[in-house]
């Protein structure tokens, strides 16, 4: 049931963190008991979910990064990689690349997504080429509430081989996000919240909205600094309602 809720009835791909987060947010008892929302309990649920998945695969659960491939493109067209993207997003966990890519955030947001450890290699090579070709192409970060954004920004510039003065937009969870963001309140006890602990609806809509707001003409970055915009997550709940549709 937690998996079904996390995936929105099969609409989204999720990570074990995402499923465990549904349990952490429960306000009703589970098997007659209120779950204890400690870091240890959260890790235990997470492990249990992954073990269960080994035996009984959970639909749309991402358990490992799986986008690395040496195979060339299976498509006959010569131009699939010729047109660039509108921005580059660097995340702090390779699993998040799979999460966003499987949920088509990269496609809908016209964004190349890579992780800070350089995964997947092919997308990283393309991202490096893009930021080299256009020195105004926005670069964004997304990270857990426990990360040090300035360090991650510096690592990102190194990863993408750009000047250390190049602006980087920080879309990550601020250190006080568990206190401010309603959907992350249990993490006041659990500890730093990773991005995939947010409800998927809020996460995909929130990330897409933030990315859409960061354009060449209207970037949020300022003067070589890391500008922080995570207040957008303050309204994150179990839903998401981000456009005029």
């Amino acid at each position: 049931m937690a998996a079904a809720r996390a995936t929105g009835g099969g609409e989204w791909w999720v990570t074990a963190n995402g499923v465990a987060a549904v349990l952490a947010r429960r306000r009703r008892p589970l098997f007659g008991m209120f779950p204890r929302t400690s870091r240890a309990a959260f890790e235990r649920w997470r492990e249990t979910i992954l073990q269960y998945h080994q035996t009984y695969p959970i639909h749309r659960l991402i358990d490992r990064p799986a986008l690395e491939t040496d195979a060339g493109t299976p498509w006959p067209e010569p131009d699939l990689f010729d047109y660039g993207a509108e921005r580059v997003l660097v995340v702090d966990d390779p699993l998040l690349v799979d999460l966003f890519v499987r949920n088509w955030v990269h496609s809908d947001s016209r964004t190349v997504i890579v992780s800070i450890d350089g995964y997947p290699r092919r997308a990283l090579d393309l991202a490096k080429q893009l930021v080299a070709d256009r020195d105004d192409l926005p670069i964004c970060l997304l990270h857990s509430s426990g990360a040090a954004p300035e360090d991650m920004a510096a690592d990102t510039r190194e990863l993408l081989a750009v000047d250390q003065g190049r602006p980087v937009d920080d879309l990550g969870l601020a250190v006080d996000a568990p206190r401010r963001v309603r959907a992350l309140h249990p993490w006041r006890r659990i500890g730093p919240a990773s991005v995939d602990c947010l409800p998927m609806g809020a996460l995909t809509v929130g990330v897409s909205g933030l990315l859409a707001a960061i354009t060449v003409a209207g970037g949020m970055a300022g003067g070589g600094d890391t500008s922080h915009t995570s207040h957008v997550w303050d309204d994150a709940t179990d839903g998401g309602d981000g456009d005029f549709g």
Binding site: D82, Y83, W104, S107, T111, L137, V216, A217, G245
Partner: protein
């Protein structure tokens, strides 16, 4: 009966009926009926009729001579936007222009073939069958229109853009033949600067060809790139001729909603146009909704139609002509392309239908829940593979064009362009006896766009780069630099406020049960607004239901 219904005419293959002038009714709604804008003639045993706009210097007579001499091949060189019909003793042929600026529908009934420029012209035939095509309804839910030859009614067919219908008058046999192909146009190896010059020349020519001689002309000016290009180019040309620039119109939906009006005003100031901005509320849209659906005639579930309709009503007080920027997105590498290209950057399209399914998803209508939305009794009649995947596959797996960007452009032109954008504008402005002028959907503009290197249309993530560069001297820099916005109709808010009562009435449980098309529970959830995209879906269902009541006389 045709006149009473107010449609724009029907052509019949029945021998002996209006034999001296079988094509006359095709052009009934044209604002003028002179040689340059449509008419009919007889040459060498051929009766030829044309409804629409011919290129400058081409008359109905010259077209008739060309058809008599070269047959259907004469269409290859015929620019403009039209429905051309001709018949001799053996055959009736009705051809639709290359890109589908004009529309044509047909059906066989009681031994006759009926053709009209609007569905209601064909449906006006007494006893014409009205059976819903469930597969087509699934297509409507996915695209917000029905692509290809199919229509929402099983016995009604559309002549697709760049196709002709041939009717054997002796046997009544029909066949639809494609006559226009732009897939074979391959990019030239030229510099970005040369590409920009080619685009500028082609668009300038298309705008100039469409400017009416001495008449006033109006323009829809959204504040986006495409309409700004058209307005700025037209204003410059008309001033050069000593004519006044177009009178321009834009709209917004209230101060509380995002709008592009400041950019529209910026363009108007630069182009020196007399500019008006209208505020359109949900209540006003609700009031004209039924009338608008009647004019729309074919189910097109895009709320932008409401904006076009209201603007046309006001603009028609000033002129019979209205320029617009329709076509800039599909023709010059607009916003539907990067998402599809980026979908290929990671190995996630491994499913056999992965590319097709992703393309369908980019429409962002209700494609993923067609079965859930259909009434349980109808679900077995919808086949996702046949009704959706097989429709888009030929575009996405075609050998030509060779480049994927050009494949997408062709797909978008032939799907959204020919079935949504152009018919929508034609009907919404036609409702007020106006003629739409869409220079960016010009045949030579399209060929030029396919001919320039693809990387000059979509360049390092910048959409419509060549078009932007081509008009950098005329269009304000702020408009060129800003990201695409589009007309954002706040249907989500309207359905919670000003259109709430209308939706509750049109989509009431009783009405849904009686119609037996959609799932009552899902529609009820939608009306309670459980998810973010229910606004557009409610709009689609409501306009469909209003269309259905029109067609079935309820």
């Amino acid at each position: 009966m045709a006149d009473a219904l107010g449609h724009r005419g029907r052509l019949t293959s029945e021998p002996g009926v209006r034999d001296d002038d079988p094509l006359a009714t095709i052009g009934v709604a044209l604002p003028r009926d002179d040689g340059a804008l449509g008419g009919r003639t007889r040459v060498a045993g051929h009766v030829v009729g044309i409804a629409g706009r011919l290129p400058p210097g081409v008359s109905v007579d010259t077209v008739a001579v060309a058809l008599a001499q070269r047959g259907c091949a004469a269409l290859d060189d015929l620019g403009g936007e039209w429905i051309v019909a001709w018949r001799n003793e053996r055959t009736l042929v009705v051809a639709r222009d290359a890109l589908g600026v004009r529309t044509a529908y047909w059906g066989s009934h009681r031994g006759r073939v009926l053709v009209g420029v609007e569905p209601k012209a064909v449906l006006a035939a007494p006893g014409f069958p009205r059976t819903l095509d469930v597969g087509a309804i699934g297509q409507f839910l996915t695209f917000s229109f029905v692509p290809g030859e199919r229509c929402t009614l099983r016995d009604l067919r559309e002549i697709p853009a760049g196709h002709r219908l041939e009717v054997d008058l002796a046997t009544g046999d029909t066949r639809t033949v494609r006559w226009f192909f732009h897939e074979e146009v391959e990019p030239e190896d030229c510099s970005p600067e040369a590409a920009v010059s080619m685009v500028r020349a082609a668009v300038d020519r298309a705008v100039a060809d469409r400017l009416p001689g001495n008449d006033d002309v109006t323009a829809f000016l959204s504040g986006g790139l495409d309409s700004s290009v058209v307005v700025c180019a037209a204003a410059a040309m008309r001033r050069e001729r000593g004519d006044s620039p177009p009178k321009t119109f834009s709209l917004h939906f209230g101060e509380e909603y995002p709008s592009e009006t400041e950019f529209a005003q910026m363009v108007a100031d630069r182009a020196g146009t007399d500019h008006s901005t209208l505020e359109v509320t949900g209540r006003e849209v609700g009031e004209c909704l039924r009338e608008m659906i009647w004019h729309l005639d074919d189910p097109i579930g895009d709320p932008v139609t409401a904006g076009n309709y209201v603007l046309a009503r006001i603009a028609s007080e000033h002129s019979g002509w209205v320029l617009n920027g329709e076509g800039g997105d599909p023709v010059f590498g607009g916003p539907k392309n990067l998402p599809m290209l980026l979908a290929h950057w990671y190995p996630t399209l491994d499913d056999p239908d992965g590319r097709e399914e992703r393309y369908l998803a980019t429409w962002r209508r209700a494609g993923e829940e067609v079965l859930a939305l259909l009434h349980p009794d109808l679900r077995s009649e919808f086949d996702r593979e046949r009704d959706l995947v097989d429709v888009v596959r030929p575009y996405l797996r075609a050998d030509q064009p060779h480049h994927f960007l050009n494949k997408l452009m062709v797909a978008n032109m032939r799907l959204k362009g020919a079935h949504l954008i152009l018919p929508k504008v034609d009907r919404m402005v036609g409702a007020f006896s106006m003629t739409p002028l869409s220079p960016l959907f010009d045949r030579e503009v399209v060929r030029t766009s396919l001919r320039v290197p693809p990387g000059t249309k979509l360049r390092s993530g910048i959409e419509k780069w060549a078009l932007k560069e081509a008009y950098r001297d005329l269009v304000p820099a702020e408009v060129i630099a800003r990201p695409k916005s589009g007309m954002r109709v706040p249907v989500r808010h309207w359905f919670r406020g000003e259109l709430r009562a209308e939706a509750r009435s049109v989509l009431s449980p009783r009405a849904i049960r009686r119609a037996g098309i959609f799932d009552e529970r899902r529609v009820r959830d939608m009306r309670r607004y459980r998810t973010g995209r229910d606004g557009i879906r409610l709009w689609m269902l409501m306009t469909f239901e209003l269309w259905r009541r029109n067609v079935f006389g309820e």
